[in-house]
């Protein structure tokens, strides 16, 4: 269920390496399921600077608001603009069409701070 080629954070974000210096990120299946119908996504603009572990935006469902935390440090080079008019993409395909940001990272050793799919699955089982 959770793609094996991704890295995960304890805040239920995923990261996919596109190259040595570029990653794509979003939220996981567990996150979108917990939220329910996503109605609004607030993510940083292109050129924004992100810091691993810090709040970078918010995601809203009908009855809840959750903070989004950046799983990496770096600069935003692309955002999924479709999410503005179609936030339901996050529910429909959290790992594919629901992607949020493409980020140029400075330090790929940061990815070691994230969880592998096995560790993330264990984390979920333990009652994340």
């Amino acid at each position: 269920m959770n793609p094996p080629d991704l890295k995960y954070s304890k805040e239920h974000e995923w990261v996919r390496s596109e190259s040595d210096s570029v990653v794509v990120m979003g939220i996981t299946e567990f996150a979108q399921d917990s939220l329910g119908d996503v109605v609004f996504v607030e993510i940083p603009d292109v050129d924004a600077e992100l810091t691993q572990g810090e709040k970078m935006g918010e995601i809203e469902s009908v009855k809840a608001v959750s903070d989004l935390y950046s799983p990496v440090s770096g600069k935003v080079i692309k955002r999924n603009e479709s999410l503005i008019d179609n936030p339901e993409l996050v529910n429909e395909g959290p790992f594919e069409q629901g992607w949020m940001l493409e980020v140029e990272i400075k330090d790929c050793s940061e990815l070691d701070n994230l969880l592998s799919v096995e560790d993330y699955n264990s984390f979920l089982k333990s009652g994340a």
């Binding site: 119908d37 109605v39 609004f40 009908v62 009855k63 936030p87």
Partner: protein, 494 residues
């Protein structure tokens, strides 16, 4: 092709602008009895005003029909927890519509509105007596407004004493959302305080947080769990010993009026929701009124205006005054006078004999429901409740996949307004039931029977709950769509 019945349905929901036809009007036009003056430059005048054009009859039929889609206290049992949906006496409306009270202008010279200011003063006195506190400001226009006033008063109090480091307000995790919102608007940082397993304030957590950065504790008594905090004296003492202010959210006053006074228990400042405890009609979402009531520590900081009385030679004179260290003005005028009049009428009608009966009967009614539904629904805190009882539908969820939402929606099919659901946040699948004292045993027995039936339906036929309600003009609505593609007003199709 829409059938005739479908057409009828669609017509019933047509909006004013859709019912309009050029030239129609819903009122008469007063003729001009003075000479016309030259109008200003066309440049600043309005060219086009889009407003409905309907006859008075069409207007009345539309609003009368659409009103039937509402549940209301006058039509339905409405056990919405924490909202105190008690019966609104008709006498109060009669009093409030007396021209001598409804037509007076707030800026008239005081000598011309002595009856009005006297009413305000007497209401202040009554509320102070009922709560056991020193002074009252009737200015705040809703409970949340009263909370904001109380928080600003705490802030002003500490600043005046040079205590600039007190930035923290402690708020129980069961608190109503307005509490942290009000504290934040008053510039404070909000720190959540847990409850213990019995539903009382966790004293250890409180002691740990009660330091010299503590500005205030905001606490609801009884709590939103419907429980009277057994440690309340100690809670208040801990806060006051640490130099903090004890703020009481008076939303649940219905449980204790005439029985125990928040001032006597050590509260420094509270607000009261007149549209809850004191029968100001809820109006579909207001107007309300939220007087803020203070003890000696904070009475000088109350928002203006305060009604005062002076007497000389057997004559009394009433005035609107300003407390010495007031936090200022909450609204342009003197508070929601129309609501204040109704509360005054209600308190006068019940008087010394009737006020204590409110708490007795509301607590009996809630405990009766508790005793009869225990075993059918999970009871997170198995102890005597006050005026409301919080059940959890988690047993139905676990066993039959039926949620608190499903139970609530099914109650509608039986003609009952749902209780408060999913609040307080610390109870899973919460159902907060507040019957109030104005419901008869027969009504409560019907409610109990329906709740038991629903619990059975959950086992036998859960789909009927998932699809509820069926007997209403609309079934469950698509809230996600409303938020994703906001359509907040009618627009003319171009």
């Amino acid at each position: 092709m829409t059938s005739l019945l479908e057409k009828f349905e669609l017509n019933r929901r047509k909006l004013l602008m859709e019912r309009s036809s050029p030239g129609r009007i819903g009122t008469t036009l007063l003729p001009l009895d003075v000479p016309e003056s030259e109008l200003p430059d066309a440049e600043i005048l309005r060219e086009e005003l889009e407003m409905p054009e309907v006859s008075e009859g069409d207007l009345v039929r539309y609003f009368s029909q659409i009103s039937q889609f509402n549940f209301s206290i006058d039509h339905n049992f409405y056990p919405l927890g924490s909202c105190t949906m008690k019966y609104n006496p008709k006498l109060n409306d009669e009093v409030a519509s007396l021209p001598g009270l409804a037509q007076i202008h707030p800026l008239q010279p005081e000598s011309t509105v002595q009856g009005a200011i006297k009413l305000l003063w007497e209401l202040q006195e009554r509320l102070a007596e009922i709560t056991g506190l020193a002074g009252v400001s009737l200015a705040p226009m809703a409970g949340a407004d009263g909370e904001l006033a109380g928080m600003l008063m705490a802030r002003a109090y500490h600043l005046k004493r040079g205590d600039t480091q007190r930035k923290k307000v402690l708020i129980p995790d069961s608190a109503h959302g307005t509490n942290p919102a009000s504290a934040a608007m008053a510039g404070f940082d909000v720190v959540s305080l847990p409850s213990d397993a019995d539903g009382n304030t966790d004293l250890n957590a409180l002691r740990a947080a009660a330091d010299d950065e503590l500005a205030a504790l905001m606490i609801t008594l009884p709590s939103t769990l419907g429980l009277f905090d057994r440690n309340i004296l100690e809670v208040n003492q801990i806060v006051r010993d640490a130099g903090g202010i004890v703020y009481g959210d008076g939303a649940n006053l219905n449980a204790i009026v005439g029985r125990v006074r928040l001032g006597d228990l050590g509260f420094d400042v509270i607000h009261s929701n007149l549209h809850k405890t004191f029968t100001q009609p809820h109006g579909g979402g207001g107007p309300g009124s939220g007087p803020v009531i203070a003890g000696d520590r904070l009475v000088d900081y109350l928002p203006l205006p305060i009604a005062t009385r002076t007497s000389a030679d057997n004559n009394e004179y009433f005035s609107l005054g300003t407390p010495p260290n007031t936090i200022g003005r909450m609204g342009a005028f003197h508070g929601n006078f129309g609501a204040l009049v109704r509360a005054y009428a209600y308190i006068s009608t019940l008087g010394k004999e009737g006020i204590p009966k409110i708490s007795e009967d509301s607590v009996i009614n809630a405990n009766y429901i508790l005793s009869q539904l225990k075993g059918y629904y999970d009871l997170p805190y198995d102890r005597t409740c006050m005026h409301e009882v919080v059940f959890s539908a988690r047993n139905l969820k676990r066993d039959h996949g039926v949620s608190a939402l499903d139970v609530s929606k099914r109650l509608i099919d039986y003609g009952i307004h749902p209780p408060t659901m999913y609040f307080p946040l610390i109870v899973e699948e919460a159902l907060m039931i507040e019957p109030t004292e104005t419901e008869s045993k027969e009504t409560l027995d019907y409610f109990i029977e329906v709740m038991k039936t629903i619990a059975q339906e959950a086992a036998d036929n859960p789909d009927v709950l998932h699809n509820a309600p069926q007997n209403t003009p609309n079934t469950r609505v698509d809230e996600a769509r409303a938020a994703r593609r906001p359509n907040l007003r009618w627009r003319r199709e171009s």
